[in-house]
Every structure is written in C-alpha cells, then in structure tokens.
Amino acid sequence: MNKQKEPLFSKKNMKLITGPIGADNPITVLCLGVCSALAVTVKVEPAIIMAISVIVVTAFSNLIISLIRNTIPDRIRIIVQLVIVATLVIIVDQILKAYSPAVSKQLSVFVGLIITNCIIMGRIEAFALGNKPWPSFLDGIGNGLGYGIILIIVAFVREVLGAGTITIPGMGEFSVIPAAVYDAGYSDNGLMLLSPMALLVIGVIIWIQRSRNKNLIEHN
C-alpha cells in the first residue's frame, strides 16, 4: 500500500465516511449501538447532542487505538479499549455538564452508556485494530454520522408527530404544525413520545431501506 501518495480525501477514504451513512449503516444494517440510542430520541435536541458525542468518541477512540494497535497485547485488548473509551466518555460528559447542564440531565445515564455502545467497540475491533490511523479516524466519523442520522430521523418523526415542535440546540423550540391545523381538530399524538414508538419507527426505517436496497434483505 502506498498510503504516502494517497491524498487525504481520496475516493477510498471518502467511502469510509459515506458507506456507513447508507448501505453499511451501523444501526439499521449491522445492528450495532441500538442500546443507548433510542431513549434519547424524544426530542431533536438531545438526539443531536448525543449524535455529536458519539461521533467524537468513535472518531478519537478509533484514532487512538489505531495509533497504539501494534503495542496492545492481544489478551488484554478489551480492557485497554474500555479504558480508552471510558476516558474519552468522561471528557465528553464533563464538557456537557459544564456547557449544557439541562441536556446533560436529560441524557442522564446515556452519556455514560456510550462506553458500552457496541458501535464503538465494534468499529475498534473490526477496523481500527487493522488499519492506519487516518482511515480509522474517518471510519469512526462515518459510523458516528450513520448512527447520528438515524437518531435524528427518529427524533424528528417522534417530536413532530408527538409534540408538534422541533427543538434545535441553541435556537430553542419551533412549532412546525400551524395553528389552523389544530383548529381543524388535529391533536398531537402523545403515543409517539412513549419509548416503544422509537422501536417501531426504527422498524419502519429498516423496512423502507431494505425495500429500496434489495441486497440488504436477510433470509431466515
């Protein structure tokens, strides 16, 4: 491999970012990282912040692990990985607590749960341990983005249908459903705010994605 001559954003490297957003999406295709994701999708704002936190953690944990990949003894690699990821998550958590305490409260334990988010461990095991730092970093960003996009789509659907608003960090809450619609007898569907609906929304996203891309269909 003549990595030295390859430009930083070559086609192959760009694919590391775009792949996970579509056909290799960590949530809907690889089924990773569902755990800590869904409970933060009631509103768009915590979903965006969670997505950014995960992108930061996956990118940097991939980068760090990839830098030291040749020195980690194979037998204790899980613990080394957990310690690195936990340190990064502590940094993210402290920053969130300092700069947006309200969101940090809303995310509660789910920031801590980024540590055991399977996307991170999965990408470290599957990619960072066998690749150079720069592609690993891009792979981390790509997977974080793929995760974040699903999170934001789910949060968008749930917030619009459930509360009729959209909350964007730093800009506050917007009503997206005009008052005339409410006057005509429409009311918000509170059911969308309940946690099981996140699962149904993801189920539907998977359904749509797989009907468009037949290669992804699994056969029992």
Partner: protein, 205 residues
C-alpha cells in the same frame, strides 16, 4: 421489606431495562434466535447484575461520592471523585465478569458449558453498566435496595429476551414481507411488546 418488594416489582415491570430504556438491545437482538440460548444469556445477565450493582454501590458510597472518603480521614470531606465513576464501574464490571467466569469454570463446569460463552459478551452489555449508572442516579440508600434493584432489572431483561425469542421462533413459520425479515420484524415485535408492558405503568406501589 415492603420497600424492597416495591423496588423489585418496579425494576422488573415498570422500569424494564429493554422496554423502558432499551438497554442491552444489541445482544438482545443478536442472541434471541432460540429460547434456549436466550435463557442462558438471560440467566447470565441476572447473575452479573446481581453481583456488580451491589459492588458498584459500595464503591460509590465509600469511595466515589462527594465526602465518601470521610471514613479514611476527616480531611477528605470535600473530595468528590464522582467524575471517575464511569471508568471505575466499567473496570469493576470487566474484572468481575472475568472472575465469575473463572470461578464458574472451576467449581461448576456444567453451568460453565451452558453459560460460559455468554459471560465475555456481557462485559460490554449496556444493561450491566446501565444498571450501575441507574443505581447511582436513583440514589438507593442501602446495600439491600441496590442488590434488589440489580437482580430485579436482570430478571426483567431475562423475561424480555425469553419473550422475544419465543416470538421469533414462531415468526419463522409466518409470511413476513421480505424487506422486514430478520431485524425489521424483531424491532416491530419488540415495540409492540413494549407497548404491552406500558400497561404496568399505572401500577402505584
């Protein structure tokens, strides 16, 4: 005693790890193909939660909380190590899982053959770390409360995975639209089960 029962029922049905918080979804989705293996994983989760939650409770109470180190020396009154809790909790969990695996292998080989393969998986199961973090957030007062909460949440997880595995075994014989097969239908089924579990929410304890 009533208080403990209260926490137990609450952690199984109302605050169910899967249906209310989606914790441990990855292994829940990946392992729930048959009832038998799901039961093995479920029991392992109960076991590990029942050990790590009380241990982390003690760690939190006597080392990490603000002023927790007073028992060592009065001058540690203002020391607050709670920012270290993530790394300490995950270290305890990873080492406990390793220890449990070795003890089970040595003293109960029969149990090991059925449970063993799941134990390493569990160290990175969000339900386990989640259990400890919820314990910390809800500020349980006694060791008994924390233990009850740990076992209760494990049991709730066990029920959920057994339920979905049973459903998936039956789904195999039905005609699911091709694009929904596998992951999709499992998500939908879990969502519906979650809605069913919500009926427990009205219970006042």
């Amino acid at each position: 005693m009533e208080n403990l029962l209260d926490i137990f029922v609450k952690s199984i049905f109302i605050d169910n790890m899967i249906f209310a918080y989606f914790l441990g979804m990855c292994s829940y989705l990946a392992v729930s193909k048959t009832v038998e293996t799901s039961a093995g994983l479920g029991i392992a989760v109960i076991f590990v939660l029942g050990i790590t939650v009380p241990l982390n409770f003690l760690l939190d109470k006597y080392v990490l909380k603000e002023g927790a180190l007073v028992w060592l020396h009065a001058s540690f009154k203002n020391v607050d190590l709670s920012f270290l809790s993530f790394i300490m909790f995950i270290a305890i969990i990873a080492s406990m899982v390793q220890l449990v695996e070795m003890v089970v292998e040595k003293f109960a080989p029969a149990l090991y053959t059925s449970l063993g393969i799941f134990l390493p998986l569990i160290a990175v199961n969000c339900a386990i770390l989640g259990g400890s973090l919820f314990m910390q957030e809800r500020e349980y007062n006694t060791l008994a409360e924390a233990t009850t909460f740990g076992i209760g949440s494990g049991f709730g997880w066990f029920l959920a995975i057994i339920g979905i595995a049973a459903i998936r075994e039956k789904i195999r014989y039905s005609k699911v639209p091709p694009a929904l097969q596998g992951l999709g239908i499992t998500f939908l089924a879990t969502g519906l089960m979650g809605i069913a579990f919500m009926s427990f929410m009205g219970i006042k304890l």
